[in-house]
């Protein structure tokens, strides 16, 4: 029987895909399997069954000890070829996103990355992803017999766990050592921010002159009961804030009641992230900044004057 195969190096994302996979499995008349790779893989089987997998393929091959796209792609390729995988669903994490096209290339398959919805229409899988930098949403289907889709984390809800058993298959893979060697891993300062669930968000952009000035926006955020978000340079170039706070195409898509964008020009890769906000506000000194077109309310002015004044007013309410 044809098979849907799920893989993500982050189990919680894989569980989302397995949960949704149950629906696809019925609609497409396929089996639902998952691949568990690397150290400690065998011990995870039961949880995958609980979320709905019929079968898991397990390999703790030494070449899989560290994630490398090259070797993981080969492992998934071998599993897929041996077991009649038609649909490979992977998490579109950074690792999943570099893995998906590589394994697709081995399979001669089309691939869609960063899918933010996948559904069955007329017996075919259709995936949505942003196109033109976020200006549009493109609905796509894959024409090759095998299909690889990398799905953004949190696209699908985690299903309820059930008491379910499944088949564990220990797979013997023929793998070479990875050609990229990991020399060191520098952990990022762990910060858990849940921007996706925040009721209010204040985002700060490159209009802020220096890190020391973050205090004035933090104060506004605190007064509003808001989480702090930011645009790209602030986290990736300057590292003033953690990447957990990045809003936009390569960051979080948020849906608060209120989103205030401060010193942000409003380029499409940012605004795509705040589309889900109910009310949007912009503070920018340039009256022609595109962010105003994306805003319900706008103030043209210097953030260094407007933000403290706004905070003061809000505190006096």
């Amino acid at each position: 029987m044809a098979e849907i195969l799920v893989f993500c190096e982050k189990d919680d994302v894989a569980f989302e895909l397995v949960s949704k996979g149950k629906e696809f499995k019925d609609a497409l008349g396929m089996n639902l399997a998952a691949a568990l790779l690397g150290k400690g893989a065998a011990g995870k089987a039961d949880e995958y069954f609980a979320y709905g997998a019929d079968k898991v393929y397990v390999s703790e091959d030494a070449a899989l000890a560290d994630f490398t796209a090259e070797v993981y792609a080969e492992a998934l390729y071998q599993i897929a070829q041996k077991n009649g995988t038609e649909v490979l669903l992977v998490g579109s994490t950074k690792r999943g996103k570099e893995l998906a096209p590589r394994v697709a290339q081995k399979l001669g398959a089309g691939c869609i990355t960063d899918a933010n919805d996948v559904r069955v229409e007329d017996g075919k899988l259709v995936a949505d992803r942003y196109a033109l930098g976020g200006n549009t949403v493109s609905s796509e289907t894959i024409k090759t017999p095998q299909k690889v889709i990398a799905v953004m984390p949190k696209t699908f809800e985690l299903g309820a766990k059930e008491a379910k058993q499944g088949e564990v298959v220990d797979v013997a893979l023929d793998l070479k050592e990875p050609r990229t060697r990991i020399l060191e891993r520098r952990e990022k300062a762990g910060e858990t921010v849940n921007l996706e669930e925040a009721e209010a968000i204040v985002c700060i952009g490159r209009g802020l002159e220096k890190k020391e000035d973050l205090g004035i926006v933090e104060e506004l955020a605190k007064t509003l009961g808001a989480e702090l978000g930011c645009t790209k340079s602030l986290c990736t170039d300057w590292e003033w804030l953690s990447e957990e706070r990045l809003v936009g195409l390569s960051g979080k898509k948020v849906s608060p009641r209120l989103c205030v964008s401060v010193g942000i020009s409003g380029q499409i890769q940012y605004t795509v992230g705040i589309r889900g906000a109910r009310i949007t506000v912009a503070i920018n000194k340039d009256e022609n900044a595109p962010i105003f077109a994306m805003s319900d309310y706008g103030i043209v002015g210097d953030l260094y004057e407007v933000v403290p004044k706004l905070t003061e007013k809000l505190k006096s309410l």
Binding site: A69, E70, K94, K97, E98, L99, P101, R102, A104, Q105, A109, G110, C111, T113, D114, V126, R129, Y130, A131, L132, G133, N135, T136, V137, S139, E140, T141, I142, K143, R179, T180, R181, L183, E184, R185, R186, K188, E199, G225, S233, T236, D237, S250, Q267, R275, T280, V281, P290, F292, A293, S295, D296, Y297, G298, I299, E305, V306, K309, L310, K313
Partner: protein, 261 residues
């Protein structure tokens, strides 16, 4: 050392208009993707460091590339290979990567292939890994620091929870993140010199590819629709004295019921 930089020409996304939810691309100037420019800049920096290197800019796209590529040549590419045949039109990532891989094989000598982590318009991140697979090379993605030494590269990758320092032998495919560098602008002298640099144009036949293997016919993904989401914002701008403006905003937000926890 031979470096190939893959550059994609895209419409300036800030200048795309939306009409009845459809994107209007006509009139939007064509530019190279942000991270593709970072990839080229990194190639130029490597060349400055190692001394002896040849940089080839490789691009698949519409005929306008012929003009656009001058920018890459001015910034520091030594020569360019363009895949502009009408048969390439409508290429998806599969068809693009296939043609680029064949072109890279035809160029023949390569130590390092540089791509953007994603193209600025589709940001699929597929072309780099697909090239690596087709050419049977290691891939290092999301690179924010890169060093070339003794036939090896060392790179710092920006991953979700960590910065990962990795090493590989050359040749390899590297995709760069936006923070790796700040691309330079070409000087007038460089722009003038660029006109004299060699530019080759290759057709599918030059690459040993049949027309069915490239362009829309060679694509593995079919786009069913591509529309802008419905979106309407009130666009109220407050003006006047700072005090009044801020009062106006606070009032409006209070009425919207979005203040308070």
């Amino acid at each position: 050392m031979n470096i190939i930089v893959c550059l994609k020409q895209i419409p300036d996304l800030q200048q795309i208009r939306i009409k009845e939810r459809k994107p209007i691309l006509e009139g939007a100037p064509l530019i190279f993707g942000d991270m593709d420019k970072n990839a080229l800049e990194e190639a130029v920096r490597i060349k400055e460091k190692v001394g002896e290197a040849k940089i080839t800019a490789l691009a698949l796209g519409p005929a306008k590339l012929k003009d656009g590529i001058k920018e890459a040549l001015a910034v520091g590419a030594d020569e360019a290979v363009l895949l502009m045949d009408p048969a390439f039109a409508g290429s998806d990532t599969v068809a693009t990567a296939k043609a680029l891989a064949k072109a890279i094989q035809k160029i023949g000598e390569y130590d390092l292939i540089l791509c953007g982590e994603g193209s600025t318009d589709s940001y699929s991140g597929q072309v780099g890994p697909r090239l690596a697979e087709m050419l049977d090379l290691p891939q290092i993605t999301y690179v924010r620091e890169l060093e070339v030494k003794d036939g090896k590269i060392q790179a710092v990758r920006n991953m979700e929870e960590s910065f990962e320092v990795v090493e590989a032998d050359l040749p390899a495919v590297v995709t760069v993140a936006a923070e790796i560098n700040e691309p330079r602008l070409a000087s007038l002298r460089q722009i003038l010199q660029a006109a004299r640099k060699p530019v080759q144009e290759w057709t599918p036949a030059d690459l040993g590819l049949a027309e069915e293997e490239v362009g829309e016919k060679g694509a593995a993904v079919e786009v069913l629709s591509n529309l802008a989401p419905e979106e309407e914002r009130k666009q109220v701008i407050f003006s006047g004295e700072l005090d009044e403006i801020v009062d106006g905003l606070v009032d409006a937000l209070t009425k919207e019921g979005v203040l308070g926890r």
